[in-house]
């Protein structure tokens, strides 16, 4: 039986109050390297320089650390209470007056509960609202299906004119937030649990719609997005020890998709596995499949959560259950090549 994991911090935030920047660590990981600590402070930094930035949340200011923003910019922070639909549409109204609102809550309640508001009030009128869906996928573990979001990418990806981006780690989140200021139209920014392990040692040069190739390889390409990018890199290490050279791509932008990078993977590495903490229906895997169907056929596997509601369990146990840990991803890659 796996050791139980402390999941209480999801609601109260990983640490309460005070100056967080680089001053503390959680289980040996510097705060600056944890997305949970980045969102509020990075937004506050951006707001120092850009008067258009305002932040909204729905009674989760501690969970998503927008309390750090509130402490520095109280007049530009709005907690709408447990009313996500209102939060999203209020953000749209503010955006119509020249602001760039960031509206943050659990992915299950931003993208899924608020899907119609995102479509009708944000994307359709091209309002520059940045919807932050944090604790996406199955990262909320035993809180269960109501708090999981394994359908959000599929739902958001179907909306015209909406940019859909996943941040792999703390530095990727910084890059996404900075780049978002000048992006036209609405965005859905998908985050993990906030403890996502490091992928980028420094803030990457991130351009929406252009994938980042993290590792070269000739035998297959692992295309990953969001919180599983680190595990995918680790899977490539495992495969390398077995003589399999896996290319690893961070497909941070799920929409608009980098078709050239997918075509290059197909042509140059001969096999593709997509990896995502999301249903295999309609997410990154579905998006890549839509590109591959127009190309010469290559072995292809969509790796994610099968078309079912996930059981409850501690997050690490769930990732192992769905083979979304490094060993599992490596095994899926091996199967894909062997079957070819």
């Amino acid at each position: 039986m796996a050791e139980s994991q402390d999941q209480s911090e999801i609601f109260r935030g990983t640490a309460a109050g005070g100056a967080l920047r680089d001053t503390r660590s959680v289980q040996g990981t510097p705060a600056a390297a944890m997305p949970a600590f980045v969102l509020g402070e990075e937004l506050a930094d951006l707001a120092d320089r850009d008067p258009r930035v305002v932040v909204l949340t729905a009674d989760l200011a501690s969970a998503n650390r927008t309390v750090e923003f509130k402490a520095r910019h109280p007049g530009r922070f709005f907690d709408l209470g447990i009313a996500e639909k209102n939060m999203l549409t209020v953000a749209a109204g503010m955006a119509s007056c020249g602001f760039v609102p960031f509206a943050a809550t659990f992915a299950s309640f931003s993208a899924i509960l608020g899907a119609e508001q995102i479509r009708t009030d944000l994307a359709y009128p091209k309002m520059p609202v940045r919807v932050i869906g944090h604790h996406s996928g199955i990262s909320m573990g035993f809180y269960g299906t109501s708090h999981h979001a394994i359908e959000d990418l599929a739902m958001m990806r179907a909306i015209p004119d909406l940019t859909v981006v996943c941040a792999a780690d703390a530095n990727a989140l910084r890059a996404v937030l900075r780049a978002s200021l000048d992006r036209k139209g609405a965005m859905y920014i998908r985050l993990g649990r906030g403890r996502d392990p490091v992928v980028y040692d420094a803030v990457p040069d991130l351009v929406f719609g252009r994938a980042i190739r993290l590792r070269e390889g000739r035998d297959l390409t692992l295309i990953a997005t969001g919180a599983v990018v680190r595990a995918t890199l680790d899977a490539a290490d495992i495969l390398a020890r077995e003589g399999i050279a896996a290319r690893v791509v961070d497909m941070h932008t799920v929409k608009p998709l980098d078709r050239d990078e997918i075509a290059a993977a197909a042509a140059e590495t001969g096999a593709i596995v997509t990896v995502e903490e999301h249903s295999t229906v309609g997410g990154l895997g579905g998006a890549v499949a839509e590109v591959l169907v127009d190309l010469p056929r290559v072995p292809f596997r969509r790796h994610g959560i099968p078309d079912e509601f996930a059981p409850v369990g501690p997050p690490a146990a769930l990732y192992a259950h769905y083979r979304l840990d490094a060993a599992g991803i490596a095994a899926v890659a091996r199967e894909t090549i062997d079957r070819a």
């Binding site: 305002v54 007049g75 530009r76 709005f78 709408l80 209470g81 009313a83 639909k85 209102n86 999203l88 549409t89 209020v90 953000a91 749209a92 109204g93 503010m94 955006a95 119509s96 007056c97 020249g98 602001f99 609102p101 119609e116 508001q117 009708t120 009030d121 359709y124 009128p125 091209k126």
Partner: protein, 283 residues
Amino acid sequence: MTQAMRNSDAFLADRARFVRTETVRLSRIAGAGHYSSTFSAAELFAVLYYAHLRIDPKRPDWPGRDRFILSKGHAAIGLYPVLADLGFFEAGLLDDYTRLGSPFGDHPDMKRIPGIDFSSGSLGHGLSVGLGMALAGRVRGLDYRVHVMLGDGELHEGQVWEAAMAAGHFRTRGLVAIVDRNGLCIDGHTEEIMGVEPIPERFEAFGWEVRRIDGHDIPALRAALAALPPAGEGRPQLIVADTVKGKGVKRMEMALNWHVGNLVGEDYDAVMAELATPAAGEA
């Protein structure tokens, strides 16, 4: 026309009639239209746009302008002619109303129509939009007002009450909601389908200041709008405008089968003739 004539109640009554006749004309182009929900709001449109809103048709994006959100977006057919009449765009554009590629659909598109402050059509959203605009004005230090017109059946939507609660909580100044209380939703009388009364007490409990008037009484409408506190003061404001769905065309008044309809031939001519005749007591 002199400024005095423009400000007269008779002029506003004429503009309300213009809203109705244009609605009938445009509906025939489309082959269907939301007549009765627009007729109930005709005096509201006329008073708001010709005698109240601080707007400049030459500067539809002026940051300091008053905002108007037609949360009951299905009445846009009555708003488009007003915007054209005020000079936001060429009136001739409406001759292709709803034709393929037209900016003008049954529900308004802010990205394609100058003077539309926010797109609408999905009921329940507009008060949240208006709250966001009012909060934006507070952050920016601007003194504009935001007006949101809701249908009475729209009050069934839960998001309306999320916004009402938040507006009261934030003591939002400069936010004015107007409920077109025409009594009917599509399936029947609101109080039979899903009761919305008592509207004033419900909003008052959420921290709003409420006035209730006859929504076809132009002097009463003007007085209610004139009584609003200055934009930077007071609580969120609600005007409940008691109206008649289908007002102005006898066959449509409080009739359940005219929410959407299509007048053609002799019926079209008869209704246009009925609308051309000033009502009793009208100057």
